[in-house]
Assembly symmetry: D3
Homo-oligomer: 70 residues x 6
């Protein structure tokens, strides 16, 4: 499926913290940076996410802010 | 300021498209990937964004989805 | 690609309004309701969206609020 | 109250999963599709959400992405 | 309608900038602070927003980040 | 760091509810209103948030909806 989502970054899961309702997933991008994603627990289980899982990080452009250091 | 925003990625602006209300900013991350950000035109002007500007990309974890390729 | 995005709804584009930076796309869901999506102009062009295009509406669960009528 | 929120879809709650901080609510739209919403636990309790509750699903247009199948 | 949206703040519109697709609305909260909202142009026109309009600012809790000054 | 985030409001934490993955933080704005923020548990601990903590509430303009009372 081709997505309108402008930001699609490849990486590998390095950790998954699961709560009752939500899960927080840590991903190391191929570029080296670390990304944190909060998704539903159901989604994390549905995708079978665990350390070592290859993933694509998906971020809609309207959710991306910018900062400029002083 | 220390931010709750978990995702803070360094990069350089490569392009700015400005509309009446909004602006779309292209950023090349230090890791090599390209990021697209949609912010208000006012914010883009306020930060003086132009090709070559050093920026920090800011993304709240709840805005980050994941995909697993078939 | 299998997505963590919990909300995936099929529909057909009924209209596209394009600005310099952003585009607003109207979609009629197979279930009959109308959905409005704001994406970058680039994304709308990239996906070749026009009235009649078959699409999947994608909404992360954290972006979905609820209301209860009085 | 008239909302700027473009997407307002009627449905019925079919399930509520509650964590310490957040809750995940499943809704069947009148059109037949299933929607997942992540809200605070407080909000779910405040609205008295339980299977059978009639709700309006509320989604801001900037949070709606689109996909086109290959 | 009772909303799951935790953040509901009263204020008055002080300015509206309209583009082809989107609009940026400035609101002065009753508490004195200024809020900026990006909504579709359609929504701004639908609500008849203009300087002096009384509004309720609506922000889902998952969209609210926090910072702590050094 | 200068942020593109248009909405930056000062306040004081009045409560923190922590789950396994997420945390919900209540903040009283200097203007008097109460704000609710859902962030990762990690972020709440990282910022050392507790009742009395001085914070800046950060909200991207695209996440701000508006309502007009009937």
């Amino acid at each position: 499926m081709k997505l309108s989502t402008r930001n699609q970054l490849r990486g590998t899961v390095t950790g998954v913290t699961t709560g009752e309702a939500m899960a927080v997933v840590k991903v190391q991008l191929d570029g080296g940076e670390t990304i944190t994603s909060s998704i539903t627990r159901e989604a994390a289980e549905d995708l079978g996410l665990e350390p070592g899982s290859a993933v694509v990080v998906l971020i809609k452009s309207t959710e991306v802010g910018l900062g400029v250091e002083d």
